[in-house]
């Protein structure tokens, strides 16, 4: 059967479309944070929508399970096969069309985000989604996880940037509406089903996406803040005064310390503050820096900000972002951590940080709290790193309890236990235990109607 199966796929995918060499497959089986190691009989790498259709149709007819993968940067294990056939979309990497006057770009699922951003820029437009994995993450993966990143307050999550989709359904049929329309109220908005579905309802092969005007001027500032409440107040004060905020990221002291130590970065401020914020402003007029300088100095004089610095050139701006975007990498040398990607209403961020810290330290005294993220949309990456002198194995035993305790705090504050990374495999238990029964049943009913044989990403979301 195996040989016949391989031959069958080879017949229509060609040698490049089917990979059996274990060394070539290996990088696709390991998750970025080394938390999941998968296995697969072979990897399929189609280069057209028709090839994807043929693959899925054949798998549906033969009860073969597939796991879709784009850039393999997902953080919840959803793209890692455990015995299923791995369907990599990386060869679907064409930008099909750019229509600056429609503010629309049509890209295939395997296009890497950075390449899309560059293609938009070459047309004097911009695609605003921005996240640290943009050099690898693909359009298909970003849509399937409804990725967020640093520009969500101003531009929304991936969902708000998708105008239309082309999706191969689990029976091999196609849903295709690569629309450039902002307004289209004809029946159910089916594309929404596939956005954030983590590959469970179809294989995304292409998307039409919103592009917009490129900012002419930008200013990047680092702020030293006394506490989280100040950070929230500062966000609103600056927005009120400048109407130009496009990103407002924070790092707590521990996060910044790990960054300085493990990334070899410099603290842009002369002292370590309890919280450091990285704020990006954009505008169309050359006097933007002056407005920002005035707004920030007013806040310093009012005692709302301890200190601030403004990047004088792109190299300095890049060094601010390097620090912020290196937050995951900076934690690796510090050993095991219980990681959370949560959101709460912005006003609740200070209470969340206080309560979660108490809850985590109640379980592991001496745990090191690394909190950073996108507070302008309420999203905190809340990582509880093991105490310096505790072995990883010992700390491992506490992770589930910490997850549970932190999530209890999140839920009690009206928050979400997965703000932008999704559920995948990693958060399945917590998700299924906490989601209202009626919601879960509706989701399962949808899955059963659209993928009755359960062939696509069958271990994601719920078991």
């Amino acid at each position: 059967m195996e040989i016949g199966l391989l031959q069958h796929f080879r017949n229509f995918l060609g040698d490049e479309g089917i990979i059996t060499d274990v060394d070539l497959i290996a990088p696709h089986l390991k998750e970025w944070r080394d938390r999941y190691f998968g296995n697969t009989p072979f990897m399929l790498a189609p280069n057209s929508t028709e090839q994807v259709q043929k693959i899925v149709k054949f798998c549906a007819q033969n009860h073969l399970k597939l796991v879709s993968q784009g850039g393999n940067t997902g953080l919840v294990g959803g793209q890692i096969p455990m015995g299923e056939i791995l369907l990599s979309l990386h060869r679907l990497n064409k930008i099909r069309e750019i229509n600056p006057l429609d503010d629309c770009i049509i890209a295939e699922a395997g296009v890497i985000l950075e390449n899309l951003q560059n293609a938009a820029a070459q047309n004097n437009r911009r695609f605003p989604l921005m996240l640290a994995s943009q050099g690898s993450a693909t359009i298909g993966g970003l849509i399937s996880t409804n990725a967020g990143g640093v520009h969500v307050r101003k531009f929304g999550m991936m969902r708000q940037l998708v105008l239309g989709l082309e999706v191969v359904l689990p029976n091999g049929e196609i849903y295709s509406e690569l629309s450039a329309l902002r307004k289209d109220n004809t029946g159910y908005d089916l594309k929404q089903l596939f956005i954030g579905a983590e590959g469970t309802l179809g294989v995304i092969t292409a998307a039409s996406l919103k592009i917009s005007a490129r900012p002419k001027y930008s200013v990047n500032a680092m702020l030293g803040l006394e506490n989280a409440q100040m950070a929230v107040e500062c966000l609103h004060a600056l927005e009120e005064q400048t109407a130009a905020i496009t990103a407002f990221e924070i790092m707590n002291k521990q996060a910044l310390q790990f960054g300085i130590k493990n990334l070899g970065a410099r603290n842009p401020l002369t002292e370590l503050h309890n919280f450091t914020a990285l704020v990006e402003f954009e505008g169309a007029f050359p006097d933007l820096p002056e407005h920002i300088e005035d707004a920030l100095s007013t806040l310093i004089e009012a005692g709302k900000i301890n200190d601030a610095t403004i990047a004088q050139n792109e190299a300095q701006a890049n060094s601010f972002w390097h620090l912020r975007e290196g937050m995951s990498a900076a934690q690796k040398p510090e050993g095991r951590a219980a990681k959370h990607d949560v959101s709460v209403p912005i006003s609740k961020i200070p209470s969340f940080l206080d309560q979660a810290e108490a809850a985590a330290k109640n379980i592991v005294n001496g745990a090191r709290i690394v909190a950073f993220g996108h507070i302008s949309d309420g999203n905190i990456h809340y990582d509880v790193a093991r105490p310096e002198n505790m072995p990883d194995d010992e700390f491992q035993n506490f992770i589930k309890d910490i997850n549970h305790a932190v999530n209890d705090v999140v839920v009690s504050l009206g928050g979400s236990i997965s703000a932008e990374h999704g559920i995948g495999i990693a958060r399945k238990d917590e998700f299924c235990a906490r989601e209202p029964k009626a919601h879960l049943e509706l989701m399962k009913a949808l899955k059963a109607v659209i993928d009755p044989q359960n062939i696509l990403n069958s271990r994601n979301l719920f078991s």
Partner: protein, 248 residues
């Protein structure tokens, strides 16, 4: 001790440079401009000398278009005391710049000129040397360490094959290399203070220096495009790709 620091406004080092479609030069419309990175190192070194109590005044000088004031403001925010801008709309060549700096030197009578070894736009690496020659002063170029003591500067230079240490009597011209220091971030309080520091703006033409260019750029083109590379994730993949390419 007074230090004069020339600074130049150039296309930001991190901006992807685009050639104008008519191939007459680099497209500067709506492009981020910043202080030449080598000039930034020179300002930093001068300010550090002041912080050590060795220098008493740091004067930044720029020659260029009116918006070069922003570049001077950055120098002031880093710690320079005051600034001079000689405005001109032509993009002067190194010799004209050196002659103008000579005139400023004669007005200001500093004890040292600390400047970048080159600007990243023209990459000429000439102005400092020309200035030293015009003033008939000692020069120490490509500095990676500067120690000022007793009217002299001990300058470690990065030369082919190693380091060379020179001692020059002041006043002297010192041009700086990348490894000399890491320039500071400008704090907001210092950015605000810089707004109150004086910038003396004069017409460059008033100095009687011939600013007209002696070189004519006939054509600017992009370097040939490299075909896209790929990233391999393992030795196995590398070997397979090399085999595919018929290299091994």
């Amino acid at each position: 001790m007074k230090i004069l620091v020339p600074v130049k406004r150039v296309i930001d080092y991190n901006v992807k440079v685009r050639v104008k479609t008519d191939e007459t030069g680099v497209d500067l419309a709506n492009v981020k401009m910043s202080m030449n990175p080598f000039c930034e190192i020179a300002v930093e070194e001068a300010v550090r000398l002041k912080e050590k109590g060795i220098a008493t005044e740091v004067v930044a000088v720029s020659i260029g278009v009116t918006p070069a004031q922003e570049t001077l403001r950055t120098a002031l925010a880093m710690g320079a005391d005051r600034a001079i801008l000689l405005t001109t709309d032509v993009d002067p060549e190194p010799l004209a710049v050196a002659k103008l700096l000579k005139a400023v030197f004669e007005e200001e009578k500093p004890d040292a000129v600390i400047m970048g070894k080159q600007a990243i736009d023209g990459d000429n690496n000439a102005t400092g040397q020309m200035l030293a020659a015009l003033l008939d002063l000692p020069q120490a170029t490509f500095a990676s360490e500067v120690v000022v003591e007793g009217g002299k500067a001990k300058v470690t230079r990065e030369v082919d094959g190693g380091l060379q240490t020179l001692e020059v009597a002041l006043p002297a011209i010192i041009t700086v290399d990348l490894r000399l220091n890491e320039p500071r971030f400008a704090s907001l309080p210092n950015i605000m203070k810089a707004k109150k520091k004086p910038i003396d703006i004069k017409e460059a033409s008033a100095y009687g220096v011939d600013l007209a260019p002696h070189l004519k750029v006939t054509k600017v083109t992009e370097p040939p495009k490299r075909s896209a590379g790929i990233k391999v994730e393992s030795v196995g993949e590398l070997v397979a790709k090399l085999k595919d390419a018929g290299v091994i």
